[in-house]
């Protein structure tokens, strides 16, 4: 009615709003103002509706409001006592503390629970106890301490310390007994829960695997069936799929900035485009700079030439990086050609391979002979800067 505390509590506990209001009013009238205090405490400490909470950013002024309201409430209450409208009974202080403690625990319990659900859904980021959840646990501990303190205070003031301690001992024994009785059941519940989580993670993995297989393998198989009469196309499909699967299975083909990864990538492109099999072997590695980009481009051009002109169905690429520099060999066992017979205006070799390497400060040597296949050797010395 005033701040929606009753409605909120009613929704939370699943009872009617009227009942909650009646309890508060009764507590306010007969409990010497405890209801009023409880109302204020709930308003200050309970979280807002979670949906609202997530939709709108929290009001940054809320803590100040809460402090102000609590202060006003306390002052008003003291005024009531001073004027004689309310009396200080021995029950007032403990009940007030208990109410505040409960508010803390309930509010936080919800929050912690929600957070743990969210964490489950996000794949159980175990161990990642974030700041907020630590904060929440402190609030729970504080609230629980308040409630216990209130009960102890209440008991001592009404039955005396000795009886109270006896009562505590009995209660502890009772709780231990109950726990022992319920232990198998609790344990089962707990392991059930762990099992469920594991099953959930497995199901997720299986779903990802299924999606991957459907997207790639199934699609490719369909395409293979369709192109069964075109061996080149089928080879190309199989190769593309192999690359994709390898990438997925073994992941780290290195980042694209590494030279050996870049050569592999260039080879994959030529394989896919020209339907030829290229094996890349690399020894050592280095980060790609602008000079190495030229070597890469020249190497790729050599692979393309081998794919287009040699007639071989496989190309062997070897790249080695050491302190002296970078060396790349591109070799095929195709028809080969007589090097000096190739017209010097052929852009392919002169510009794309020779020119590129020379501008970068390296060399390109082509060895070929009719029927012997071709090997292009690219060398780029390291510059010590």
């Amino acid at each position: 009615m005033i701040a929606g505390v009753c409605r909120g509590l009613a929704t939370h506990l699943g009872v009617s709003v009227a009942a909650v209001r009646a309890v508060f009013v009764a507590a306010a009238v007969f409990g010497s103002g405890a209801g009023l205090l409880a109302y204020l405490a709930f308003w200050a400490l309970l979280p807002l509706d979670p949906d609202e909470d997530e939709a709108a950013p929290a009001d940054p002024d809320r803590p100040r409001w809460i402090a102000g309201a609590l202060l006003a409430g306390a002052v008003g209450f003291l005024a009531l006592i001073a004027l004689g409208f309310a009396t200080v009974t021995p029950y007032l202080l403990p009940s007030a503390i208990a109410v505040i403690g409960l508010a803390l625990v309930w509010g936080s319990a919800d929050e912690v629970q929600r957070r743990s659900w969210r964490r489950d859904a996000a794949g159980m980021a175990r161990g990642a106890v974030d700041q907020a959840s630590v904060h929440g646990r402190w609030r729970v501990a504080l609230g629980a301490a308040a409630v216990v303190m209130a009960i102890v205070g209440f008991s001592i003031s009404s039955v005396g310390l000795k009886t109270m301690l006896q009562g505590v001992a009995t209660t502890v024994l009772l709780l231990v007994g109950l726990f022992l009785v319920a232990f198998p059941w609790l344990h089962e519940r707990w392991s059930d829960r762990v099992q469920q989580r594991i099953a959930l993670v497995r199901a997720d993995e299986r779903a990802e695997m299924a999606a991957r297989i459907h997207d790639s393998v199934m699609q490719t198989l369909t395409l293979v069936q369709k192109h069964a009469d075109d061996p080149l196309r089928v080879q190309q499909l199989a190769r593309t799929e192999e690359h994709a699967l390898r990438d997925w299975l073994y992941g780290d083909t290195g980042d694209a900035a590494s030279f050996s990864a870049a050569v592999q990538q260039a080879a994959n492109e030529v394989e896919t485009r020209h339907g030829i099999s290229i094996e890349v072997v690399s020894v050592g590695d280095v980060a790609v700079d602008s000079r190495l980009e030229a070597v890469l481009a020249a190497a790729q051009e050599a692979m393309v030439n081998a794919a287009r002109h040699s007639g071989a169905n496989a190309v062997q690429v070897y790249c080695e990086v050491d302190d002296g520099g970078v060396t790349v060999f591109v070799r095929d066992r195709g028809c080969g050609f007589v090097v000096k017979d190739v017209a010097s205006d052929r852009v392919g070799i002169r510009e794309s391979i020779d020119g590129r390497m020379q501008r970068a400060g390296g060399t390109a040597v082509i060895r070929s002979g009719e029927g012997e296949g071709t090997e292009v050797a690219l060398r780029l010395p390291m510059v010590t800067s």
Partner: protein
């Protein structure tokens, strides 16, 4: 020295399709092809059929090729093992070589090359795929200078041979490139294989864990 046509070759692979494919490739080029579809049946086959060469799949249930090799240590003198695989973690390939395999080839290898490789291991020589050669270079040459043990580094000639193997050269081509006899090249390759099997360089495991061969 036996010619390829006199050899008994065993295929140990859990995929029926691979066995059928390899059998087709070898048919008529070797004396006899026998098969086993797993680790246990493979070990039994090696002991009963006494093949000259075993083509051994690295990845199989129940321990894979390495388990077969470990059980067949006493057979290594008369039977040569050649690891055959598609794409494996280098650690597995190196484990197979260190357990006694005399070489490693990928399942993509052509029929003729496979017969050559079988012939080579049957005669006690080593078989390096370009990738295995690249691996050896990477693992041995990287920090060779500080190694004292002869087992732990490659001689300049061995390095040269490995480099040409990594470039895709055959033994014959390497021989003519280096002006040496094929027999000498085979000796160098066998020496490198021995180092690969016996060296305790920690780079071997380090590299093996990082890479894929095949």
């Amino acid at each position: 020295m036996k010619a390829a046509a006199e050899l008994v070759v065993a295929i140990i692979d859990d995929h029926a399709m691979v066995r059928a494919g390899v059998r087709t490739e070898l048919q008529g080029r070797v004396r006899e092809v026998v098969e086993a579809d797993g680790v246990e049946s493979g070990i039994a086959l090696v002991r009963t059929a006494k093949p000259d060469v075993v083509l051994l799949d690295i990845h199989m249930p129940d321990g894979g090729g390495v388990a077969v090799l470990q059980a067949c240590q006493s057979e290594l003198a008369r039977t040569a093992f050649l690891a055959l695989s598609v794409s494996d973690a280098a650690a597995d390939v190196i484990a197979a070589v260190r357990a006694g395999a005399r070489g490693y080839v990928t399942k993509h290898i052509s029929g003729t090359d496979l017969v050559n490789a079988i012939d080579r291991v049957a005669n006690g020589d080593a078989v390096f795929s370009p990738r295995l050669a690249g691996f050896v270079l990477d693992a041995f040459v990287g920090a060779a200078a500080e190694e004292d043990e002869e087992l732990d580094r490659l001689s300049p000639r061995e390095t040269e041979v490995m480099r040409l193997l990594a470039r895709g050269y055959t033994y014959k081509e390497i021989a003519s490139e280096l002006f040496l006899s094929i027999k000498t090249i085979e000796t160098h390759a066998s020496a490198v294989l021995r180092k690969l099997q016996l060296s305790n360089r920690r780079e071997l495991t380090k590299w093996a864990n990082k890479r894929h061969i095949g």
